[in-house]
Point group: C2
Chain length 107, copies 2
């Protein structure tokens, strides 16, 4: 039996707040994380190493947590790895078009 | 001859940055200002008194300036009044769909 770990706490779809989602996406590093997931890995969650971002791990942990708490990503723990994926269905349902803006963003 | 005052300095359409626009809209007060303009006065610029926001004038001045500097609004001085309007055409051209999210926002 394949089991998927329970996600870390996150706001439900109905609880997503536009101002919080916009706020968390207003940081270029976080915008880049979400854009890379959308373009290169929309269906598979990824750990922070996959992103090849040259920042301290504690910094990345903070940013990934902020994305999850705003409801932009879902995080699960697989052994020692904490992986993230974009909540595409939830964001498309609540904020249509927003993820297209992220996909089109030029860093 | 009717003359319209020259706008205050603002980023050109091509200079608008998604991260800055999202950042300035991530504040509920500013989101409310832009939403009210879009819904009630898309074609006419308004001074801060029109919004009936119960905050010190210096606070409002700060928020209106932040909106202008991010390129969300255009500001002009009419005598003693500084009025703002949303740069709808510019934002629709650069970030399609974004203003619909603001219109649909529930405070």
């Amino acid at each position: 039996m394949t089991s998927v770990p329970t996600p870390f706490p996150e706001p439900a779809r109905a609880e997503l707040r536009l101002e919080e989602v916009l706020g968390v996406l207003s940081d270029p590093l976080r915008l880049g994380i979400v854009r890379k997931l959308l373009l290169e890995s929309p269906d598979t969650d990824r750990s922070c190493g996959w992103f090849e971002i040259d920042r301290p791990k504690s910094t990345l942990t903070h940013h990934f947590k902020a994305l999850r708490e705003a409801g932009v990503t879902r995080q699960r723990q697989y052994g020692l790895e904490r992986r993230s994926m974009v909540r595409i269905d939830d964001l498309d349902a609540r904020f249509p078009g927003l993820l297209d803006l992220v996909r089109d963003w030029k860093p």
